[in-house]
C-alpha cells in the first residue's frame, strides 16, 4: 500500500481508522478514500498533522456512474512535496455531510460553494448564504453544477441579508459593485464607529460567469483558451496549472527547453503584476511620481512580453505538452537587455519609495494581518508570506526552482509594508531566475511533445504571482472534461482583507485593498 506513513500518522490520531482505499496514482498525490462517517475526523487529523489549511474542497456529481455525489478535500504537505486528497461518497437522496467549518475555518467558504452549486448540505454550518448566485436573480433549488442542470427553473427570489453590527453611533457605508476606478465589480459594506472600521463584509460574485460548468463537456485542447480568460492578469499561471493537470493525467513529460521557457514566462507575469501593485500602492497614498514611473516599467514588461510571444498577457503561449512561443538567440538577447534595464529602473523606484517619510508612515503598521489570523483563514501565496507563513509552491514542488536555488521571500509584520517588501524581493528574485533560466536554455531542443491524452483525474498547480493556482480535473475516456475545479488564490485571500482592515480608517481601505490586490474574476469564477 502506498503512502503508509501518513496512514500511520492518522491512526495515531484516530485509533480505529480504516481507509477504504489508498491510492498513489502520481508521485506527488496520495488519495485516501474513507467512509462518510470518518471523513470529518480524517480531514481534521490531516489539518493538524500537516498544519495545512484545506487547499480545495469540492464536490463531484457521479450520480450517473455510481449513484453518489463525491466530495474531495485536498491538503498540501510541503515537507514531502505532495498533495493528500481525502474523498468520500454521499448517497444521492437528501445529500449532506457534517460541516468542517466550525473546527477548520478554511473549509467554510468551500462548503458554502458546495451547498449553492450542488445542493449538498454541510450540516451544522453556521452561515449558508450564497456566495455567487445572488438571491435577487437566482431562484432557490437550482444547482448549476449538477449534471442534470440545464436551465434555471422558476422559484422564489429573495434579498441578501448583510451581517449587522448594531449599537450607538455605528453606521454603515456601502460601496460598489460599481467603483470609482477602472476595476472589477464587488460590494463592500463597512460598519464604522467614528473613524475606525469595526466590521467589513464582502459580497462578491458579481463577476460570476459559470466558468467551471463551461469547462464540462469540452475537449482539453478547446478548453485551454478558456482557462486563460478565468483571471486576466494571471493568464499564464492559469493555463500552466491547466496544462500540468492534463499532462499529469496523460503521463506527458515536457521537453527541458519548454520547462525553462515556462519558468521564464511565469516570472515575467509575476514581474509586471508586482510592479503594477507597487505603483498602485503609491497611487493610493497620493504619491504620483513613483506610481507613474511604475506604470512605465509595467508597460515596458508588457511590450517585452509582446515581443517575445506576440501577446502582452502571455496568452496562447502554453499548450498541452509544451509551449508555442520560442525564445531564440536574438530574443534571448532582447530579454537579457530588458532585464538589465528593468533592474536599474526598479532600483530607482524602490529608492524613491523608501526615501519618502510620508509614504513609509502611511504603509507601516497599516492593514495588519497577523500570522495566527492568516493561518486560521487559510490565506495563501504572497499575502501569507508577508504574514510570516513560509508557503511557496516554487520552493517545495518545482525541481526547476530548486536547481536555480530559489530563495523564498517572507516578512513577519503582515502589514502593507510587509507585502510591499515581499513584492520587492520577489521582483528582484524573478530577474535573477530569468537570467538563470535563460542561461540554461540549450540551443535547439524541442518546444513540445505530441501528447497522447488519457482518461483519469489529477491536480495541476502553479505558483502564480498572487499565490497557488489549482486545477483539479476529471477526464472521461472520450477525452471530455467531466469536472473542473479551479481554486484561485483570491478565493481564500479576500477574507484576509476583511480582517486586515479592522481598526483602520476607511481612507486607508484602498491602500490595504491594493496591497492584497485580489482578483474579482478569479474569485467569482
Amino acid at each position: 500500500m502506498a503512502g503508509p506513513e501518513i496512514i500511520t500518522e492518522i491512526k495515531n490520531k484516530i485509533p480505529d481508522f480504516a481507509p477504504l482505499a489508498v491510492l498513489q496514482n502520481y508521485p506527488d498525490e496520495i488519495n485516501i478514500k474513507v467512509r462518510a462517517q470518518v471523513f470529518k475526523d480524517t480531514c481534521l487529523a490531516l489539518h493538524k498533522i500537516l498544519s495545512s489549511p484545506v487547499a480545495a474542497l469540492f464536490a463531484l456529481d457521479e450520480r450517473k456512474e455510481s449513484g453518489c455525489f463525491e466530495i474531495n478535500s485536498i491538503f498540501v504537505d510541503f515537507k514531502n512535496s505532495r498533495w493528500i486528497t481525502v474523498n468520500m461518497d454521499i448517497p444521492q437522496e437528501n445529500p449532506g455531510f457534517d460541516s468542517l467549518a466550525k473546527s477548520m475555518y478554511s473549509a467554510s467558504l468551500f462548503e458554502r460553494e458546495i451547498w449553492e452549486m450542488f445542493g449538498i448540505q454541510p450540516k451544522g454550518h453556521p452561515d449558508l448564504r450564497r456566495l455567487r448566485l445572488h438571491n435577487e436573480v437566482w431562484a432557490n433549488e437550482n444547482y448549476p453544477l449538477r449534471k442534470d442542470f440545464r436551465k434555471m427553473q422558476s422559484g422564489n427570489l429573495s434579498d441578501y441579508k448583510f451581517g449587522r453590527v448594531e449599537g450607538d453611533g455605528i453606521f454603515e457605508v456601502p460601496v460598489g459593485p460599481v467603483h470609482a476606478g477602472i476595476i472589477g465589480p464587488g460590494h463592500f459594506r463597512f460598519s464604522v464607529a467614528g473613524e475606525p472600521i469595526i466590521n467589513l463584509e464582502l459580497r462578491m460574485g458579481f463577476a460570476h460567469r459559470g466558468v467551471e460548468k463551461l469547462f464540462e463537456g469540452k475537449l482539453c485542447d478547446d478548453a485551454l483558451g478558456l482557462s486563460e480568460c478565468v483571471c486576466g492578469d494571471s493568464s499564464f499561471a492559469h493555463s500552466l496549472a491547466f496544462t500540468q493537470a492534463i499532462e499529469k493525467i496523460s503521463g506527458v513529460v515536457i521537453p527541458e527547453r519548454a520547462a525553462y521557457l515556462r519558468g521564464i514566462f511565469l516570472e515575467l507575469e509575476r514581474m509586471y503584476n508586482h510592479i503594477n501593485d507597487m505603483g498602485g500602492i503609491a497611487t493610493d497614498v497620493g504619491f504620483s511620481f513613483p506610481s507613474v514611473f511604475a506604470s512605465i516599467i509595467k508597460e515596458a514588461i508588457l511590450q517585452l512580453n509582446a515581443r517575445l510571444t506576440g501577446n502582452r498577457y502571455l496568452r496562447k503561449v502554453n499548450t498541452i505538452g509544451g509551449v508555442l512561443a520560442n525564445i531564440d538567440e536574438t530574443k534571448k538577447q532582447v530579454l537579457l537587455d530588458s532585464i538589465k534595464h528593468l533592474k536599474r529602473d526598479f532600483n530607482e523606484l524602490v529608492k524613491m519609495l523608501y526615501s519618502s517619510v510620508s509614504f513609509m508612515d502611511r504603509v507601516d503598521t497599516t492593514g495588519v494581518l497577523r500570522r495566527k489570523t492568516a493561518e486560521d483563514l487559510g490565506v495563501v501565496g504572497l499575502t501569507a508570506r508577508a504574514s510570516g507563513i513560509p508557503a511557496d509552491l516554487r520552493k517545495y514542488f518545482s525541481g526547476l526552482y530548486k536547481e536555480a536555488k530559489f530563495k523564498m521571500a517572507t516578512q513577519e509584520s503582515g502589514d502593507v509594508l510587509a507585502r510591499l517588501r515581499v513584492r520587492i524581493s520577489e521582483f528582484q528574485e524573478s530577474c535573477r531566475l530569468i537570467e538563470e533560466f535563460a542561461a540554461r536554455l540549450n540551443k535547439g531542443g524541442k518546444l513540445k511533445t505530441e501528447p497522447e491524452l488519457k482518461a483519469g483525474s489529477a491536480l495541476g498547480y502553479a505558483e502564480g504571482w498572487r499565490g497557488p493556482v489549482l486545477y483539479w480535473f476529471k477526464i472521461d475516456p472520450a477525452g471530455l472534461i467531466q469536472r473542473c475545479k479551479i481554486v484561485d488564490p483570491s478565493f481564500l485571500n479576500w477574507q484576509g482583507l476583511a480582517y486586515a482592515v479592522l481598526g483602520n480608517i476607511i481612507p486607508d481601505f484602498p491602500l490595504c485593498n491594493k496591497s492584497f490586490d485580489l482578483s474579482y474574476a478569479g474569485n467569482d469564477l
Binding site: 477602472i182 463551461l214 480568460c229 508597460e299
Partner: protein, 170 residues
C-alpha cells in the same frame, strides 16, 4: 530649498524616450483623435468604465492607455469616477446576471446625450463565456451600443484607433 536646487542641478533631465518608433504611431492616431474630439465635443470626452464580469485584462489595458506612453488624457479623453460626469459608458466583459441591474442603473444615471461603447470580445456576445447559465449575453441587447472595440484584450493603441473610427462616424 537648497537641497532641491542641488538635486535639480546634479540630476539634470531624467526623462527619456521609450521606443520612439511606437510613439510616432501613437502621436499620429492621437492627434487625429484630439482634433475629432475638439470638433465634435467642444473640448473633451468623459468616459465612465463599467466591468460587467470581465477577466480583468481589458481593465488592465484601459489603465495602460492612461500611462505616460500612450497618455490618452492629452488627446482629450478623461476617465471619470461617476456616471453623472460621463458622456460615454465603456462596458467590458460578458454581462453576468448579477451585474445586469448595476449596468442598467449606471446607464440611467448618466445625463443626456449619452452613448455606449463595448470593449473586448466578451462584451460583444459573451466571447469565451457565451452560453453560460449565468451570462445574459450581448450588451447591445440591453443598451444601445454605438461601437465595439475588438480584441482579447485590445491593446492601448487599438483602443485609440477604434475611438478614432467611432468619432469619425458620429
Amino acid at each position: 530649498m537648497l537641497n532641491i536646487l542641488k538635486n535639480r542641478i546634479l540630476k539634470g533631465i531624467v526623462t527619456r524616450h521609450i521606443r520612439p518608433e511606437l510613439s510616432k504611431e501613437i502621436e499620429a492616431a492621437g492627434s487625429e483623435l484630439r482634433s475629432l474630439i475638439r470638433k465634435k465635443f467642444g473640448r473633451s470626452l468623459h468616459i465612465r468604465e463599467i466591468d460587467t464580469g470581465s477577466c480583468g485584462a481589458c481593465e488592465s489595458e484601459i489603465i495602460a492607455a492612461n500611462n505616460p506612453i500612450y497618455d490618452l488624457q492629452r488627446f482629450g479623453i478623461n476617465f471619470v469616477a461617476s456616471p453623472r460626469h460621463a458622456d460615454c459608458l465603456l462596458v467590458t466583459g460578458p454581462v453576468s446576471k448579477n451585474m445586469l441591474i448595476a449596468l442598467k442603473k449606471t446607464y440611467a444615471a448618466m445625463p443626456e446625450p449619452k452613448f455606449v461603447i463595448t470593449c473586448g470580445d466578451c462584451a460583444l456576445d459573451g466571447g469565451s463565456f457565451k452560453g453560460s447559465y449565468y451570462v445574459e449575453g450581448a450588451v447591445k441587447d440591453i443598451l444601445p451600443v454605438v461601437l465595439h472595440i475588438s480584441g482579447c484584450p485590445p491593446s492601448p493603441l487599438q483602443i485609440i484607433l477604434s475611438l478614432n473610427i467611432l468619432l469619425q462616424k458620429a
